[in-house]
């Protein structure tokens, strides 16, 4: 860990995050988020968490960016966020209080790499000392994830596959669906006509953005 480099990376992270929220062009926002992930992975690599760093670079900077771009291609490239000044002024003290709370809590954390820290007591000692003997795997992270804690990994994989299935359920258009339906407002197939009957309000909120999106998509 090199302290000046870390400070620079943190500054870049904050700037990238603020810009990504404020920029109007969503493609630029995606690029900024990918840059954010890359710098975050640098930060992880700086503290020798190479596995986390690789996952952050591959999934954070690569895949989520691609998925976001896919979503942009399917909808609109320009954000139409409304600026609500009053809400901003009420949010500000809340965010400040949250940051203060986090900073206060961080003073109670053990130093990084402290061998007496609670996280390094108990089972982790056994894992670290026994991993090579038990599993012949030099990379402790891998033996932890896929052997000692493989049920956690099973759960995580299940979550990802479930996410894909849920995306299919929500987004796939079936035969017999109304052709005019946008994918965004499609409630997902065979809800009964009554439940689906659109009141004027729903129509307004459902259709108006669509017109915008179509114009945006053609640009």
């Amino acid at each position: 860990m090199i302290v000046p480099l870390d400070i620079i990376i943190f500054l870049v992270l904050i700037i990238a995050a603020v810009l990504a929220i404020n920029v109007k062009d969503l493609l630029a926002a995606v690029a900024l988020l990918a840059g954010y992930s890359l710098f975050a992975s640098l930060l992880f690599a700086g503290v020798n968490a190479v596995d986390v760093s690789l996952v952050e670079a591959a999934l954070g900077a690569g895949l989520t960016g691609v998925l976001f771009i896919g979503a942009i291609l399917a909808t609109s490239r320009h954000s139409t966020a409304k600026r609500n000044l009053r809400r901003r002024w009420t949010m500000l003290p809340l965010i400040a209080a949250f940051i203060g709370l986090m900073l206060f809590a961080s003073t109670g954390l053990p130093d990084r790499g402290d061998p007496e820290a609670p996280a390094h007591q108990g089972v982790s000692r056994t894992y670290l000392s026994q991993s090579l003997e038990d599993t012949e795997t030099p990379n402790v992270v891998t033996s932890l994830l896929a052997d000692y804690r493989s049920q956690d990994t099973l759960g995580e994989t299940l979550v990802i596959v479930t996410a894909a299935l849920a995306a299919m359920l929500v987004l796939v258009r079936r035969e017999g669906d109304d052709e005019d339906d946008t994918r965004g407002s499609d409630p997902g197939g065979d809800t009964s006509g009554e439940a689906r009957g659109t009141t004027d309000d729903e129509q307004e909120s459902g259709r108006d953005p669509y017109a915008d999106e179509r114009e945006g998509g053609r640009r």
Binding site: S53, V55, A58, E133, T137, N139, A146, E156, A164
Partner: protein, 146 residues
């Protein structure tokens, strides 16, 4: 719809050139998790990128011939099943769920068995992540089959 041949030749050529190497790197990451950074999650991510890059840059007919649409859900299911089976097999040998060391095959030590179990699990996770990501992309692009 929006996928398909990208107008610029440079992007098309670079996409076509890069994706096989990304695929190879993904396989390496999946298989090399024992000795270096990586494993199923990151490797599956690279595999998915290698499949998605042609879809964004190359002509549709070619890209969807390389990795067909039904590949996504198929691989997701196969990977998940591989993981679950890998967890179930030790139970037939009297071990616990996902306790690969309990599997007894003559000539292979328990620690070696766990090593192999980790490899199979990583491959399963890699396939599942690959399938899930490709599925999500296809669904977003309105190209999925039901």
């Amino acid at each position: 719809m929006m996928t398909g041949a990208y107008p610029s030749v440079v992007v098309r050529v670079v996409g076509a050139l890069l994706s096989p190497f990304i695929l190879l790197f993904g396989l390496y990451i999946v298989a090399h998790g024992h000795y270096g950074p990586g494993g199923g999650f990151a490797g599956g991510g690279f595999l998915a990128v290698a499949a998605i890059l042609p879809r964004v840059t190359l002509p549709e007919s070619l890209a969807y011939k390389l990795v067909p649409v039904h590949f996504g859900p198929l691989m997701g299911g196969v990977g998940m099943l591989l993981f679950l089976l890998c967890g179930l097999v030790p139970m037939f040998f009297g071990g616990m769920f996902l306790d690969y060391g309990a599997v007894e095959i003559a000539g292979i030590a328990a620690s070696r068995m766990r090593y192999l179990g980790i490899l199979v699990v990583e491959i399963g996770v890699g396939l599942a992540v690959f399938g899930a990501m490709v599925t999500i992309f296809d669904v977003l692009m309105d190209r999925s089959e039901t």
